[in-house]
Symmetry: C2
Subunit: 223 residues, 2 copies
């Protein structure tokens, strides 16, 4: 099932096993592919692995009993996810598009962390940046209008995945809505509104390629 791969990809972000993200950790790495829509791990499942997106995109979410969904984060190329302190995962993680992940056995990581204080420090700083993102997102979900939420989303994605001026969103309107605490219709309407104001353009024949025309106006909308 798991294929051992150590081939170097020529991609920008720092990957597990390269001496950065998780220092010069001697952890066993594998790669695995998930096709669009499949689950990487489920909420409350034992947290056996830690993952990093090599290619594609992943959403982590929680569900209420009646199906309402809150996406806590999108994981894009280079992002590490599924890192838990406790025994089980607190989110469900699904591939948004066909996705390749690199994975490390959690117990190995913990073993290395015990020996190497730098690795332990990396674990803390990753957890801290997750916390920081969650804190900012609470402000968005609790207090921002739909326009402010969508503007914040666009700016976040712009900074994380824009290549050559074009932002190719992997996620659907529904995913965006569940991330922003809105409905997909409200997201769609708000994007149309921003397009109408000349702040962004839709590119080609897909609605998921977006070009930001006026970042500073968007930034003003995101208080």
């Amino acid at each position: 099932m798991f294929v051992n791969v150590n081939a170097n990809s020529a991609v920008r972000p720092k990957f597990l096993g390269e001496h950065d993200g998780l220092s010069r950790a001697q952890v066993i790495l594998s790669e695995f592919k998930y096709s669009r829509g499949t689950e990487v791990f489920g909420e409350a499942e034992p947290a056996e692995y830690v993952y990093q997106v090599v290619e594609g995109a992943v959403r982590s979410y929680k569900l209420l009993s009646d199906g309402r969904r809150q996406i806590g984060a999108f994981h894009l190329v280079g992002d590490i996810f599924g890192l838990e302190n406790g025994a089980v995962h607190r989110f469900t993680a699904e591939a948004i598009v066909d996705t390749t992940v690199r994975l490390a056995k959690r117990v190995n990581l913990e073993h290395v962390a015990r020996a190497d204080a730098l690795v332990a420090r990396d674990l803390l700083s990753m957890t801290t940046s997750n916390l920081q993102h969650a804190e900012n997102h609470m402000l968005l979900l609790g207090r921002k209008t739909s326009l402010e939420r969508v503007a914040a989303f666009l700016l976040e994605m712009d900074s994380r995945l824009t290549a050559a001026g074009v932002m190719a969103l992997p996620m659907s309107r529904r995913d965006i809505a569940d991330y922003l605490g809105l409905t997909l219709e409200t997201v769609s309407r708000t994007l149309s509104c921003l397009h109408g104001k000349g702040l962004l353009d839709f590119l080609g024949q897909t609605q998921r390629q977006i070009v930001l025309r006026n970042r500073s106006e968007l930034a003003k909308l995101d208080l």
Copy 2:
């Protein structure tokens, strides 16, 4: 300004310096009092100390430029707050009522953590529980109704500060609203509604002492 105190209080929770929360750390501890409404630290201020509530209650919040406020957490007796990985605080912290805190210099704590892996582990697990709280709160803020939010709030506070069956809330309706992403009127109406249904009672002549009459019905409301 800071008074060195090592007197043992006879209170329930484990405190800094007692061999639990932060292991057998040899950190210098002081106590300090903040009167109702005063700021303990501000957002983006250098994070020089880590705090623990000895008596009273604290709110941590973020503000938007126009004054909208999102409270990220309430810190009650025993809770540690102001723990940062980065150089600065990401929230403003204010005393809700007259409050006594114990505080430790952050650099000392880091120094100890470097020497003692158990302390380092405690730091990570504290950050993780903050993260876990934030993740649950994102679900609440993004997807729950006002009734579900208030029910969740009551159950959270019930588990954290009920003494002798009575829950003495230190925070105002406005604080609750800013925690739940609602307005104070909606919080008040929702509490009235729950009272009307016989799920809770208001005690004495204050509106901040509440007795939960039917926890299981409340739990059903909090999906």
